[in-house]
Symmetry: C2
DNA sequence: CGCTGCGTTGAGCTTCTTCAACGATCGTGG
DNA sequence: CCACGATCGTTGAAGAAGCTCAACGCAGCG
């Protein structure tokens, strides 16, 4: 049921039931297969989206074809909200990285609702602020830390999120992770190998076990090199 | 007059006069000398700011002391709005890079106002979205482009902003610019020298003249190397 | 006049990317 | 059910880009 997905979302929390129904009414479910494009950078932003199931990546492509992932979004997370408020064009590309369902909210209908519902506007301010904070963190990471540091930070973050006795399963392919960390698969592979050799982690397939939490922490803080 | 600065701001545009007065009432003017800290990362965010005059930088510092500038803000631009909505701690440092006056809006008073004024909330959504878009651009630039490309993009952007027959005056010190571009002064200096030698620009002090617009454009797009 | 901050230049080195080849895995069609 | 191809991941060698460290010139200012 679409209404459920809408009610259980931080964006829409605290809104009256009538608004949830209204939202469910204006939202359109769309399905995408792995690899399908949801929208391209520069396209006219006709509205914004909410991930219902699956996984979506937001990314940019440079002239020479290298990709940088800006976000990876899972169920319950909204994307392309920016197109609603700042200009009309989508600022990046969106692709389903696995079979996914998303709910599309057309611009006009939604923005009508928002301008009469302060609490909805406040919720959106909250999510946008959070997004902004993540970006600030990302800029910092990209410019200040070397790749091993970024990877260490990622591993620790992922570990915090799921808390399963210091063992994490990468939610995305390694090549995708490389792009998220602002590097390329080869480099990522080498660094994983190095970390393993130094006894920081063990990596088999998409499972990573943390052996030396402190060592990783030092890397993430830039106190240590992975010589 | 404080009210003027408030009225002429995109954040507050379209609000009734009474709100402008209300804002002027809750806003507190603060003055800072060049180099003075406005707030530190991690400090409890008691409110947000608006630059009245001067110039403010938002930046992060890594463990080993390297700084990355996230924003440079001039008159009329707000900062630290994020602290209002997402958590209470400031996510970065703020410093006046020249003698500056800012208006400080305490958290509670402002957020009371916002929750009853949809148009104010909408304006804030607009500026936050814009900020997000800039960040997306920055992440792209940092990860995809090499330093010459970033510098070229910066020069062209600055030129667009002021449009003075292809001649720009750097608004910030070169060491600051280096940090903004995610590099260090030495590298910036070398690249400026290279660009000059290749006939793309001439640089004397803080003045830069553009000689080969196309060449710069190609660099910014990553189509060219500065061998 | 000397100090301090900023910018520049050089040399050496680390890190990352590029290019190429190869191995593993998985889904599909024969 | 096997074989094939595609995608993904790994590894090696070579090169480029940027960083560190160090020295120096220059300007502004007390």
């Amino acid at each position: 049921m679409k209404t459920n997905h809408i009610a259980n979302n931080s964006l829409f929390r605290g809104l009256p039931e009538s608004d949830h129904e209204e939202l469910a009414r204006i939202g359109v479910k769309q399905d995408f297969l792995r690899g399908e494009i949801i929208f391209h950078e520069g396209e006219d932003g006709a509205g914004f989206y909410l991930v219902q199931s699956g996984m979506v990546k937001i990314y940019k492509i440079s002239f020479d074809g290298k990709e940088q992932i800006l976000h990876i979004l899972g169920p319950g997370e909204p994307f392309a909200e920016v197109a609603l408020f700042a200009g009309s064009a989508y600022p990046a590309n969106a692709m389903a990285i696995e079979k996914s369902s998303v709910i599309f909210f057309p611009r006009q209908a939604f923005s009508d609702l928002i301008s009469t519902q302060p609490s909805l506007a406040l919720n959106m301010l909250g999510t946008l602020s959070l997004r902004l904070r993540q970006f600030a963190h990302m800029v910092e990471a990209l410019s200040l830390k070397e790749v091993p540091g970024r990877l260490a930070a990622y591993i620790l973050l992922e570990n915090e999120k799921h808390q399963k006795n210091n063992e994490i399963k990468l939610p995305i392919a390694k090549s995708q992770l490389a792009s998220l960390l602002g590097t390329i698969p080869e480099t990522l592979s080498r660094i994983l190998a190095k970390m393993t050799k130094q006894g920081l982690i063990t990596a088999t397939g998409s499972m990573i076990s943390i052996l030396d939490m402190e060592g990783l922490q030092d890397l993430a803080d830039g106190e240590t090199r992975l010589s």
